[in-house]
Symmetry: C2
Subunit: 207 residues, 2 copies
Amino acid sequence: MSGNSGRLGDSTGRIGIGLDLDATHMKILEVLRENGRISVAALAERVGISRANAYTRFEALRADGAIKRFTAEIDHLRAGLGITALVFVTVRQQMWKQFRAELARMPEVEYCAITTGQHDAMIQVRVSDVAEVHRLVTERMANIPAVKATETVFILDEVLRRPYVLPTDRDAGRTSRRAAPEPADVPLGKMRFVGAAEGRAALRKDG
Amino acid sequence: MSGNSGRLGDSTGRIGIGLDLDATHMKILEVLRENGRISVAALAERVGISRANAYTRFEALRADGAIKRFTAEIDHLRAGLGITALVFVTVRQQMWKQFRAELARMPEVEYCAITTGQHDAMIQVRVSDVAEVHRLVTERMANIPAVKATETVFILDEVLRRPYVLPTDRDAGRTSRRAAPEPADVPLGKMRFVGAAEGRAALRKDG
DNA sequence: GTTGAAATTAGTACGAA
DNA sequence: TTCGTACTAATTTCAAC
């Protein structure tokens, strides 16, 4: 496995640790993901370092790629895209390259991830009405040879979206859970993990 | 259905069109989602309006909620969270409130959406290693009474993440697809839509 | 909705701790 | 490395058009 995440924008195969992030770096990231437009001066104050230091670290994080980009979160409903759907795609093996190329030409696609399990990829699309989902899936996706099958579900509500999870969050969130109950005192049967092999095998039955 | 999206941060039930966005507003959003830290002066220039106008519109978009927030996209791998997984959750009916409350206490959760289909919700989690996924699902999620069952898949690669889709993207992306082939000249059998009712019914069998 | 000038703030450079 | 200060450039605000 080439490792997931972290290689979205940059097509450089580089994975190695460019700079190791200390607690101050993390604090900076924490502030920046909440308010991407904060001035470096205000950032320095909130983190508790000097302005010059903040500039240095800010640039370092950017240059290293730890900060990939700054973006505005748009309200899709107000922007005219009130319908969100997930399309789970089964991709014909060795046609991944074509699949990715086609994805790039579909502006409705906001996110695409390769997954283990029954399907090969999950894509999230935003459109203005439900009919468009149908058109997108049956007309455009169906015409991609790389796409063997799809399964579509609609998103009824987005309960939460965090501006990007950081390892430091864990300590904060676990406070009220310190004296955790004995693990696995609950029937494990209801929890299911779906690995890649299992999914692929199940797939070949109706291939 | 209360309509999806657009109501993440704001708990005000307001849905109505605060201001209707014209082409200039859209251009502004287009620029800001690519570069959330651009100065308003530079933004004005790129959009082709005066600075004062840009300030006015910028503030209006912010106040209206069309821009929800500005954030930095972090490289999870560099931040120490190299593992991403999707957990599909079946929620016991009328325990949604509890489910949401528990989610809020799990910092590993980056995203949660209520979906139609076989499961009720999909959550995306980021952790540092695969063992943590196991712990999270079998120990912490299993202990939530609202959680009836889960199914977990791993994300092997994130192919694309757009900084937020806008309706204007459609026109740009469709250029090379203008002379589209006749619709639905492909076997429809391989495309499957999963509605809520179907999913819920299938669920009751093993409830 | 635009332009231009004043006030404020941001970004840079450099020496000292 | 980090900090503090001084300097320069840019941005934001506010005015009149």
